[in-house]
């Protein structure tokens, strides 16, 4: 593998996708990868920070709400504000919302049940490092597994989000069309993933780390993680397209 970036996966006591992300970053993509314990205050020089899926501190209150106040999150915030890469998957996305590093909030899924299924996603931006392996409009298949993935915000905020191009993935049908039946958790505007205004922080509910190997029948998620570890610092936008 080409030299990439040093990766840090934050481990909360209830993280349960930490090993899965480690497997893809460390073994499949062969990157230098560390686990970062939630009580640490330093990111140990990691350039890509992953907040993995799971149930951080049990999430009996609201998913990710306590994790947003954990010791390591101050360092993650500084890293994000300095333009560093932060990727939140599932519970990690919920934490980024709770920490205010991404806009919006999560409610319980529309039918109030946990949802573990494969969904289709449409790539809305291909000018982020994370999406450099995809083309805009491309349809991906990824698993979701969550009870609180129903993305919500005010209409004005959602309009702003759309205008500034921060919607990165949407739930669609297999043809790439928006459809209520394809938006299983009931997210506003079928939003599955959003990024920060600068594009360096990305959060999404689906699990790219669970579909990053052909052996498992689906490799659609590999490009996202491969993009996230691409060498190159500073500006997160790979093309000269404004954010």
């Amino acid at each position: 593998m080409d030299p990439g970036v040093k990766c840090g996966i934050v481990v909360f006591p209830g993280s349960n996708c930490d090993h899965d992300v480690y497997h893809v970053l460390g073994h499949v993509l062969e990157q230098e990868t560390l686990f970062l314990w939630h009580q640490k205050t330093s990111l140990e020089g990691c350039e890509l920070i992953v907040l993995p899926g799971g149930f951080s501190y049990g999430d009996y209150l609201r998913a990710g709400s306590m994790a947003a106040h954990s010791p390591i999150m101050a360092a993650v915030r500084r890293h994000a504000e300095a333009g560093g890469r932060v990727l939140g998957i599932c519970n990690g996305f919920q934490m980024l919302l709770e920490a205010g590093l991404l806009p919006g909030a999560m409610r319980r899924n529309r039918d109030l049940r946990f949802l573990s299924v494969d969904v289709h996603l449409r790539v809305e931006r291909d000018d982020l490092v994370y999406c450099s392996g995809y083309r805009r409009g491309e349809v991906l298949r990824m698993p979701i597994a969550h009870a609180e993935g129903n993305y919500v915000d005010t209409d004005e905020a959602l309009d702003d989000l759309e205008r500034s191009g921060q919607v990165v993935f949407r739930y669609v049908d297999s043809e790439g069309n928006l459809a209520s039946g394809a938006n299983l958790n009931g997210s506003k505007r079928s939003i599955a993933g959003v990024c920060s205004a600068e594009g360096n922080v990305l959060g999404l509910m689906p699990h790219p780390e669970r579909c990053a190997e052909d052996l498992l029948g689906n490799g659609d998620g590999l490009a996202l993680l491969a993009g996230a570890v691409q060498a190159g610092g500073g500006a997160e936008l790979t093309a000269a397209v404004g954010g």
Partner: protein, 750 residues
């Protein structure tokens, strides 16, 4: 015993109180003789838990001895928290299945959740990291007004399993769900978990080395679950609702951190023995660990962390509060365990020490509240050879009821696909995370789940099976069939069976007809295990599943684990998930039927679900023919000849073909040499396989060499299923069948 006698507020112990604790006059007399005095209230509680069927297997032990328990792969057989088998490349798998039937009926959400929690702890106390769960569920009638409570139970059980397993992060990759009115008063919730670890890292639950400290770790002890084990060993009556406080309350987050902390503590090198506090809580963990080590224990109950200070010694010993563990460490090394647990936010505290006098001595506020010999109570629990006799109406049950041939086979097919029993179970398993840990190649809804084993070229296959109607009509045949079907399901993905666990769910063994069912089912299972060379490495017995004299159908759930040594021999990497599933996915493939088709309708889905007839002799099981078929399937898989495989089970050939077509929405066109009725026959030892035309001759000639009947019955392709038979044709768009099939369960559960 020096300071005995009752504490303030404790009832006086006599034969009447013992009887209320579920002890017979003889058992109570034996206890008094053993102690040489009247037991204390705490001692009576302890004995009642240890003598319960749940802990002592007193009514089943005599039959369980028939199971083969050894093979070259078995590392630990029955008797540990979970059985352990060698799966190659230096790895072992620890697995077990357990019931949580009684608690789940009383309080479905917590009952099912803590069932998952308990089985996960059984696996990780062996030092193995859990990587997969299966759940085998049986419910009663869910239709109409009468089914309202049952729908509530289905919902609660599924949520309970999901919320617990999802939070801990263990994928639920398969299982089964059935419905029958015999479960109206007693549902069955059987949870299976499997973990893996390096062979040299296996731990056992042994207390050894006099003077070594005993540590209590995890959640505090509360009043929940007191007498759970005893409750689980009794039949229900109209007052069962009052037993709700005997159901434990689960906390999956604590389980998750306890799992991580325990595995880390076990890796630290200072831990000698580990045991979780499951059924009968601190009682069984202390007594069983001491018994295995031939040691004794001294516990100061004042040191046990409590949720409320007012708990009595009796309550402390019998509480089934969840997410608790006991560690025995080297003397002076307890600090290592305490600091590991504290890093994970958990408390660990020394509550006693190992002794060498073989007694369990418990003190509370300076008084000895129990002083009992360990070994006689654990291993010397009563063993009963209960009287057994065939049911009085057996002959009538087995009377052959000749089924009517369907006027409209397509209608009959849709009728079957539209029942909750045969309908799509996605409504259930989409509530379970099935892909976490990123090993799942084939998940729920297939013959066998397939998980890759990271760092090796191998994969594991898992299945759970039983047909309660067959077992009711002929328990010996039913027991045999359950094992044979499990072996066949593993063979469909090319896996060699390496071990089995089971959950034997029956009514009261004090009823001779039930005792007979139990004995016969076990005999049938044991015969089949020997024939297939599959050891039984762990298991669980759940008796007294009856309410006001109405017992559940005999349900000896089998969960079996298989190994695929070289996954890449089976096919191309990117296609494995499809070709190991049981669906048509490649147009142009030929569809072959393997195995001999005879007319078998006793206990069949066709008779039961369409005509309400549950009678006759269940399908015969020719163990030799089954073994030949399974060997052929494994060979064809390893040779990379097959693009898919599905075993024929409930509903027969036509249901199996429909399931293959609905999987990916791709149809087939073909013909079958038999009448309309035989489409629904449940003759055993059969499977459908698909292969590219170039591989058909390989499969057919291997089948001939193996003595397995084989015929080419059609071709995969198109969006219809079109199957000609003697005198007609079944012809339907796959989408139409799919609609009926997918809506069946969601509609039924409302």
């Amino acid at each position: 015993m020096t300071a005995s006698g009752s504490l303030a507020g404790e009832p006086a112990v006599d034969a009447g109180l013992a009887s209320e604790h579920g002890l017979t006059t003889e058992e109570y007399g034996g206890l008094r003789d053993l102690l040489g005095r009247v037991p204390t209230y705490t001692e009576l509680g302890i004995a009642s838990a240890l003598y319960s069927e749940h802990c002592s297997y007193k009514s089943s032990k005599i039959h369980l001895r028939r199971f083969p328990t050894r093979s070259r792969r078995v590392v630990h057989g029955p008797g540990e928290n979970a059985g352990v088998v060698d799966i190659g490349h230096g790895w072992v798998a620890a697995f077990k299945m357990e019931s949580h039937n009684h608690p789940s009926f009383i309080e479905p959400y917590q009952g099912a959740a803590t069932g998952v929690g308990g089985i996960l702890r059984d696996v990780f106390t062996m030092g193995a990291r859990p990587i997969a769960c299966l759940d085998s569920l049986r419910f009663g009638d869910i239709d109409g007004e009468r089914g309202a409570r049952m729908r509530h139970l289905v919902d609660g059980v599924v949520r309970g399993i999901g919320d617990y397993g999802n939070c801990v992060g263990i994928p639920t990759v398969g299982g089964e769900t059935g419905f029958h009115s015999s479960y109206n008063g007693n549902i069955l919730v059987n949870a299976f978990a499997l973990g893996v670890c390096r062979r040299e890292r296996i731990f056992t639950a042994v207390a050894s080395g006099a003077g070594n400290p005993i540590l209590y770790a995890g959640s505090r002890t509360g009043r929940d679950g007191i007498h759970g084990a005893t409750m689980a060993s009794e039949a229900f009556d109209s007052e069962s609702e009052a037993k709700r406080p005997t159901v434990q309350v689960g906390d999956p987050f604590t389980e998750k951190v306890l799992l991580e902390a325990s595995l880390e503590a076990m890796r630290s090198g200072v831990v000698l023995g580990v045991q979780d506090m499951g059924a009968a809580g601190l009682t069984s963990s202390c007594f069983e660990m001491a018994a295995r080590g031939g040691a004794g224990v001294e516990i100061d109950l004042d040191l046990v962390p409590l949720r409320e200070a007012s708990l009595t010694p009796y309550e402390i010993m019998l509480s089934e509060s969840q997410e608790r563990m006991v560690f025995v460490t080297q003397r002076g090394q307890e600090g290592t365990v305490v600091s590991i647990l504290s890093r994970w936010g958990l408390q660990a505290r020394t509550i006693g020490r190992v002794t060498d006098d073989g007694r369990a001595r418990l003190t509370f506020r300076g008084r000895t509240v129990a002083d009992m010999p360990v070994e006689p109570l654990v291993d010397g629990a009563p063993v009963y050879d209960r009287p057994a006799r065939p049911p009085a109406d057996l002959a009538r049950r087995q009377e052959d009821v000749r089924p009517e041939a369907p006027d409209d086979p397509l209608g009959a097919l849709k009728g079957l696909l539209g029942t909750p029993e045969l309908g799509d179970k996605e409504w259930i398993f989409r509530q379970y995370d099935s892909t976490v840990r990123s090993n799942t190649i084939v998940g729920p809804g297939s013959d066998a789940a397939v998980l890759r084993l990271k760092g090796t070229p191998s994969a594991l296959a898992l299945t759970s099976d039983v047909n309660p109607s067959y077992c009711w009509l002929d328990p010996r045949l039913g027991g045999r069939q359950a094992v044979a079907e499990a072996v066949r399901n593993l063979a469909t993905v090319g896996a060699e069976p390496v071990g089995m666990t089971n959950c034997l769910n029956f009514g009261s063994p004090e009823n001779p007809e039930i005792a007979w069912q139990l004995r016969e089912c076990i005999s049938g299972m044991a015969d089949a295990c020997r024939a297939f060379d599959v050891p039984v490495i762990s298991g669980n017995v759940s008796l007294y599943n009856e309410t006001e004299g109405e017992a559940v159908r005999p349900t000896p759930t089998v969960a079996m684990v298989g190994v695929i040594d070289e996954l890449m021999e089976l096919g191309v990497e990117g296609e494995l998930n499809r070709l190991l599933g049981c669906g048509f996915w490649r147009a142009g493939d030929r569809v072959l039927l393997l195995g001999r088709s005879g007319d078998e309708f006793g206990g069949s889905a066709y008779q039961r679900l369409l005509y309400g007839v549950e009678a006759g002799r269940p399908p015969s099981v020719d163990l030799g023919a089954e073994a030949a078929l399974c060997a052929l399937l494994r060979r064809a898989r390893r040779s990379g000849w097959l693009s898919g495989c599905h075993d024929l089970a409930e509903g027969g050939l036509i249901v199996a073909l429909a399931e293959c077509a609905m999987a990916w929405g791709l149809g087939m066109r073909g013909s079958f040499d038999g009448g309309p009725l035989s489409l629904f026959s449940e003759g055993q030892g059969r499977a459908i396989v698909t292969a590219s035309p170039a591989r058909v001759d390989d499969v057919l000639s291997s089948a001939e060499a193996a003595g397995v009947a084989a015929s080419d019955i059609g071709e995969v392709g198109g969006d219809r299923i079109l199957l000609g038979f003697d005198g007609g044709v079944v012809d339907s768009p796959v989408d139409e069948l799919r609609a009926v099939w997918t809506e069946a369960l969601p509609r039924a559960v409302g």
